[in-house]
């Protein structure tokens, strides 16, 4: 039919609008992301955060019983925070490794959410250290 | 070390030869122009693609009809315009072929 405009552009425009609407709906319900922090930035954050740091000092306790206790330090800094964690401990976990764990700072101790401890693979593309 | 040197030398020679090959093969070429389709040729290609598209669409319509994806009514409605389109495309191509042949005869050789 002459003069009939192609609906392709309309479809694309509507779909983009629909996708954005879905997206906005999701973020308004689920909120923004989880903040990624270093131990030195923990102060003042009350909610659930993702803490990244280097394990220093001794680790004690049992992650499958009362809880594994260790200390996290800024990867490039001196601020530390004690952590208590329950759940699966990755094999690569040990003092000196960089880890990420979710949790909440409660009374000076970072209480971790179970099974969120992740250790970074110390291999592949690391530069010569 | 000498192995490395030998391999390196061979590689260097091979690469130089590869890059120079077209010039070594034809030091005095009859025609050094890059065969790029000009606008006339582009039109012909476009028409050829239209023709192939129309023919393929007809073939697919037949198949869809036979496998029941397209009802008899739809088939009747769609096949006529497709056939017309295919005929047009074929005619346009023939016309173009005639015209270019005519031009070639007039100019007496390659364009």
């Amino acid at each position: 039919m002459p003069g009939k405009r192609s609906p392709v552009r309309l479809i694309i425009a509507l779909s983009v609008a629909a996708a954005l609407a879905v997206f906005l709906l999701y973020t308004s319900i689920a909120g923004g992301g989880t903040p990624s922090l270093r131990p030195s930035q923990l102060r003042g954050h009350d909610g659930r955060v993702s803490l990244a740091g280097k394990v220093v000092g001794r680790t004690s306790g049992d992650a499958h019983a009362a809880g594994l206790r260790f200390t996290l330090r800024d990867v490039n800094g001196i601020a530390t925070v004690p952590v208590v964690y329950k759940g699966s401990v990755p094999d690569l976990f040990r003092s000196g490794r960089d880890v990420v764990v979710d949790g909440k700072l409660t009374g000076g101790v970072f209480v971790a959410v179970p099974n969120t401890l992740v250790t970074k693979c110390p291999s592949k593309y690391t530069p010569k250290s | 070390m000498t192995v490395a040197l030998a391999v390196g030398a061979v590689l260097a020679v091979v690469c130089v030869v590869l890059v120079a090959l077209p010039f070594l093969r034809e030091p005095k070429p009859h025609d050094d122009r890059l065969a790029v389709p000009d606008e006339v040729e582009q039109r012909r290609l476009s028409l050829a693609e239209d023709r192939d598209r129309a023919l393929a669409a007809l073939k697919e319509l037949e198949f869809d009809h036979r496998t029941g994806k397209v009802s008899d009514d739809d088939y009747r409605a769609l096949v006529a315009p497709l056939r017309r389109k295919a005929a047009e495309a074929l005619r346009a191509l023939d016309l173009r072929a005639e015209r270019t042949d005519g031009e070639r005869i007039r100019t007496g050789g390659n364009r």
């Binding site: 999701y26 499958h64 | 391999v7 010039f23 669409a57």
Partner: protein
């Protein structure tokens, strides 16, 4: 020896620069011999890169620890296989692999296109040369694999979790995919630069794109399988940035594979196709950038390295160049045909494209969110798994449904009555299956039931396509069912190969739905003699056994599995302790249930000094369908890729006239 390697890389760089600069000049000025010379330069760059690769491989094979790369990534007691595959175990080596594959593909593209018709190569060569130049520059000046040091006595060894056949093969597979997307991109840009309006570039790169896409898909499945059996947390995909880095270009390439079909059949969507192929290529570069630069926090921790900024710069350059080119050639790309109906196969392909691109972009958003939030609010934030899962469901489930709808809809325009008839059987099957599933208790997961029902719908519609097609062919000739079936596929390789690939995707969807929505997880501490139950399996802990191997000490928990009164076998989850690398690795125990396709997955979470074990047990229904899907996927891709002599002849005739008159 390292000098030879360095010299070979410099040679390759020079040849690539030549093919880029001289190739551009030759294409612009229309100089045939110069253009051929630039093409040959690409061939030469492959030879040079091959020599460089051989030097590195030889150094690895003979444990030459004066090469810093060899010392960093291998050790004397590493088995030969892993010593050789350590080639791509580190940054410099994997860049060299990238360049090698790129030059190899360029070489193949030049040689095959020459047979088909040289004129198409004119502007393709400079684009390939440009991309190659970037990687060669990195290898020569920033990240050389041929750095030397005082020969050490022994090397640092390879991370034990990477000493696994899947991990050995996974990178080259991925690279064949990533790098393979460069070829269609180069041809698309080449066509734009040459000002061509025809579809030659699509016809020429059809098989390339399909092959690259297939390699990328298989590579990801291999990686997922490795994560499942080797890392062993019980899953196969963690939405880690590095995993997403491969998924995003794959999704864009899937969209591209579909939309080129529309351009072929109807001459529409020319601009969209060029944008898509550029997006796929850009995402593949971005993926390489992500895994190398450490800019996004990932458990893979490819920490800060100097090549990050380079990649980012190159990606920006490519993006800017592509957009400029498209904008410049926009008048040429205007389509003559219009979308006639919202209910047509073209329309379903369009919806498919939109969903795929939407999914890829939401994943991209999730991946760069930490960076963006850092820039905007000063505080880095990450998105979590629920984010990815939400959008996977929101966009993936409709995509699944479309896979079943698309093939049943006719081109141009489909009447609703015809649709009703063709949809009847698949719809009825799906509804019946849905009711049966709910009755069996699958209602515990809404998403799971929906996924299963959609999957049944798609499988039914694919089956119907094969049946109807075979019946139609049989009605034409006088061969039997089998003969008609094989001739049906032989004459429509792309279509029916595509259907097989769709079936593979459906199997994947069923496997993923089953093993995530319907899995059972239990964890307890067991002392010797204690038992736990997971999904009807009773697990009894019998104690530990330890043993020594050449490079590690292993400790295994002995777990007997019973179902009712039947003894099913003994599983041994445990840990390996590696001496040289001073690392402990998790060794999971998996029992495959061949009847249900599910797995019983045991993880020895913690070995305790008092002889007890913290055992985590998962029952994952239908998970093996995922790996089966990989095999079906390969089969379908092969069918679609298989050369069709008749079609080749027809296409050759169409384009042969291009140079015949000159």
């Amino acid at each position: 020896m390292p000098d030879l390697g360095r010299a070979a890389l410099v040679t390759s760089l020079l040849l690539l620069v030549y093919s880029f600069t001289v190739g551009s000049w030759a294409a612009w000025r229309g100089r045939r011999r110069l253009a051929e010379s630039a093409q040959n330069a690409l061939l030469g760059s492959f030879a040079a890169t091959l020599v460089a690769a051989a030097v590195l491989l030889a150094a690895l094979a003979r444990h030459d620890f004066s090469f810093r790369y060899v010392a960093d990534h291998t050790s004397r007691e590493l088995p030969l296989g892993y010593t050789l595959t350590a080639f791509w175990g580190g940054q410099e080596g994997s860049l060299l692999l990238w360049l090698l594959v790129l030059c190899g593909y360029s070489c193949a593209a030049v040689l095959t296109a020459r047979r088909a018709g040289r004129e198409i190569l004119a502007w393709v060569v400079p684009v390939l040369g440009l991309v190659g130049t970037f990687f060669a520059l990195l290898l020569v000046f920033v990240a050389s694999p041929f750095a030397t040091q005082a020969a050490a006595a022994d090397g640092a060894g390879l991370n034990p979790s990477l000493q696994n056949p899947y991990m050995a093969v996974h990178p080259p597979m991925l690279y064949l995919g990533y790098v393979g997307l460069t070829v269609p991109f180069a041809f698309a840009m080449g066509a734009l630069l040459a000002g061509r309006t025809d579809e030659r570039w699509i016809v020429a790169t059809r098989r390339w794109t399909l092959a690259a896409w297939a390699f990328l898909g298989v590579g990801q499945l291999l990686g997922a399988h490795w994560a499942y059996v080797e890392i062993g947390w019980g899953g196969y995909y963690a939405w880690d940035p590095v995993e997403n880095a491969a998924l995003m270009p794959w999704l864009a390439a899937t969209a591209f594979l579909h939309s080129v079909m529309i351009q072929e059949k109807r001459g529409m969507l020319k601009v969209w196709n060029v944008l898509l192929v550029a997006l796929a290529f850009g995402l593949s570069l971005f993926g390489t950038f992500l895994t190398r630069s450490g800019i996004i926090q990932s458990i893979h921790s490819f920490t800060q390295s100097s090549i990050g900024p380079w990649f980012l710069g190159f990606i920006c350059f490519i993006t800017a160049g592509t957009l400029t080119l498209i904008f410049w050639r926009l008048p040429l790309l205007r389509a003559k045909t219009r979308l006639e109906s919202l209910v047509s196969r073209e329309a379903t392909f369009l919806y498919n494209n939109l969903l795929l691109v939407a999914l890829a972009l939401t994943i991209l958003w999730g991946v760069v969110y930490p960076l963006l939030s850092q820039l905007v609010t000063g505080q880095a934030a990450t998105v979590s798994k629920p984010y990815y899962n939400f959008f996977l469901h929101a966009f993936g489930l409709p995509l699944l449904l479309l896979m079943g709808i698309g093939p049943l809809v006719a081109w141009r325009r489909a009447s609703l009555r015809a649709l009703g008839r063709t949809f009847l059987w698949p719809l009825a099957t799906a509804v019946a299956a849905g009711i049966a599933l709910l009755a069996l208790g699958a209602g515990s997961s809404r998403v799971g039931v929906i996924a299963y029902t959609f999957s049944i719908f798609v499988l039914a519609s694919i089956l119907l396509e094969f049946l109807r097609g075979t019946a139609a062919r049989k009605a034409l000739g006088d061969s039997g069912w089998l003969g008609s079936f094989s001739s049906l596929i032989a004459r429509n390789r792309r279509r029916y190969g595509g259907y097989v690939v769709h079936a593979a995707v459906v199997l994947l969807a069923i496997g993923v739905a089953g093993s995530s929505a319907y899995q059972t997880v239990r964890e307890t501490r067991l002392h010797r003699g204690d038992s736990m139950t997971v999904a009807g399996n009773r697990l009894v802990f019998r104690g530990y056994e330890t043993s020594m191997a050449s490079n590690h000490r292993s400790i295994r928990g002995l777990v007997d599995v019973y179902r009712g009164n039947n003894y099913l076998g003994r599983l041994k989850p445990g840990k390996n302790q590696y001496f040289a690398e001073d690392q402990v690795s998790n060794e999971v125990a998996i029992r495959h249930d061949l009847l249900t396709g599910g797995d019983l997955f045991l993880i020895a979470d913690q070995v305790n000094a008092d002889g007890s074990i913290d055992l985590k047990a998962l029952q994952k229904p239908l998970v093996n369908l995922i790996w089966l899907a990989g095999i079906v996927f390969i089969g379908g891709s092969l069918i679609a890729l298989w050369p069709d002599a008749r079609e080749e002849r027809r296409l050759a005739a169409r384009y042969a006239g291009a140079t015949a008159s000159l």
